[in-house]
Symmetry: C2
Subunit: 280 residues, 2 copies
């Protein structure tokens, strides 16, 4: 998977790229079949919605689920990031965001790099999100909303919001959002299961609650240039990984064949990965 020159220019201008139906229904089914088991587990990696048992986000499934461990090494997801950064990448964060039917709560306006910088001391915005839709994303199930071009302003001032949802987030104030939208507008890419989005870690984004009867499960690989690894281990390892080994991709058919992958957390999260540590 190589981005064209036009893709790269579009990414630099808008801060995101959208590839509808990049993965096949059969590839997505392998992952969808695994989600209920993962979400039903009582492990710290499952963060549930406020006042509900629905999973808001599952962390680090690539450490204990074979299908997701393969996805974490998928060339269609990893190679574009390597190309953009011009160096190998490692997995900074791996999330399966639920946005479940009826229960999926909103995500406030934020930049991911704001958190990675503030909490993890990641030196530069040389990390990005590569997301795939396991379910169809439509206008009713809380699609991601982007402010195109907002990544070009770098890190914006943010406040730590620990009350609105079940997950603390560095969020951007309303005046700033209004100005950014007046300048760049809003977009909400929608498409079938198997669609992929790449977006810059400074791109400002949000999503509303899902009041529809349709789940909107998406997987986010947060890929960081190896030289740009985090310097502080303040958050637990299952949220912000400390293994900076470059990702080695599997073949392109890795969701459909049982390639061998290591699953170091298969029998549970190691105690060290649950704890903060003092230095990076």
């Amino acid at each position: 998977m190589q981005l064209t020159r036009a893709h790269v220019e579009q990414f630099e201008r808008d801060g995101y790229l959208f590839f509808p139906s990049l993965f096949s229904p059969a590839e997505m089914q392998v992952l969808l079949d695994e989600v209920p088991r993962l979400y039903s587990e009582r492990r710290p990696e499952n963060v549930r919605e406020r006042g509900s048992d629905a999973v808001r986000t599952n962390f680090a499934a690539h450490m204990y689920s074979a299908p997701f461990a393969r996805l974490a090494r998928h060339p269609r997801m990893v190679e574009p990031a390597v190309q953009i950064f011009g160096e190998p990448v490692y997995m900074h964060q791996f999330k399966i965001n639920g946005k479940m039917a009826f229960d999926g709560d909103l995500w406030q306006w934020h930049q991911d790099y704001g958190t990675w910088k503030n909490d993890d001391l990641m030196p530069e915005a040389r990390a990005m999100n590569v997301a795939i839709f396991l379910d169809e994303v439509n206008e009713f199930n809380g699609p991601l909303m982007f402010i195109p071009g907002s990544h070009t302003l770098g890190v914006l001032e943010a406040e730590h919001d620990v009350t609105t949802t079940s997950y603390p987030l560095w969020t951007i104030n309303h005046d700033t959002i209004a100005k950014l939208v007046a300048r760049g507008g809003l977009v909400a890419p929608k498409g079938p299961s198997g669609s992929m989005i790449l977006f810059h870690s400074c791109l400002v984004h949000a999503s509303t609650a899902n009041l529809s009867p349709w789940n909107r499960v998406s997987v986010y690989l947060s890929l960081c240039a190896v030289s740009n690894h985090i310097r502080r281990f303040k958050r637990p390892e299952y949220i912000a990984h400390r293994d900076f080994t470059p990702i080695v991709c599997l073949p392109d058919d890795c969701l459909l064949k049982d390639y061998e992958v290591s699953l170091p957390w298969r029998d549970g999260t190691p105690a060290a990965a649950l704890q903060p540590a003092l230095a990076g």
Copy 2:
């Protein structure tokens, strides 16, 4: 304003009709200019969002605001309801719903007639909503979502939800919504300021929070056939009116000319209108 036979058939089948840009920008501006003053008033008719000073809904502005008193007698809004019911209508409820930028909270899945029946003892579903968009409604500012055809099932079982938002509502459970959507799908009419929606009082609807920087103010006339007037005055009069006098329409240009209208609550809400009463 007369509905065609095709309109009436569509209304009977789907439960709603949508008329984009039925009112002109000049007509809408007269109303938009009045909203900030109404929303800034400290009177019981302004219900504010949970944890915010933003107005969620303003009741009964037609009793104390000249532009909205004229809108309440507008032939484009009132005549279709008279036509559908085949008899005069009175104003059961009059609302200016804010759904303000950033602060506008969601409305859970509900039927309006569920509340009118349970709380107000309205005998039949011979009342309907006629709504106009004062602001553009787009995919980002929390459009109304309808389940087409859901009105044909009559009154559905509902539970009184007094915790999710600042306004108590009889809401429909998730299993029922999932079944209704599997049968009828979902629609969210979007359009410019001045667009009008008519919908059946049993049509199941909801809307998500507005995370965008754009207000989504809409006005709802809940028009009830006079013979179908409410039988219990449990809710304050500013929420469920007790004057069953048929509405007499003004001319079609009534938003642009200063036709005389009475404003009985101009100097404040009468004490009797704030109180529940025992019988209708």
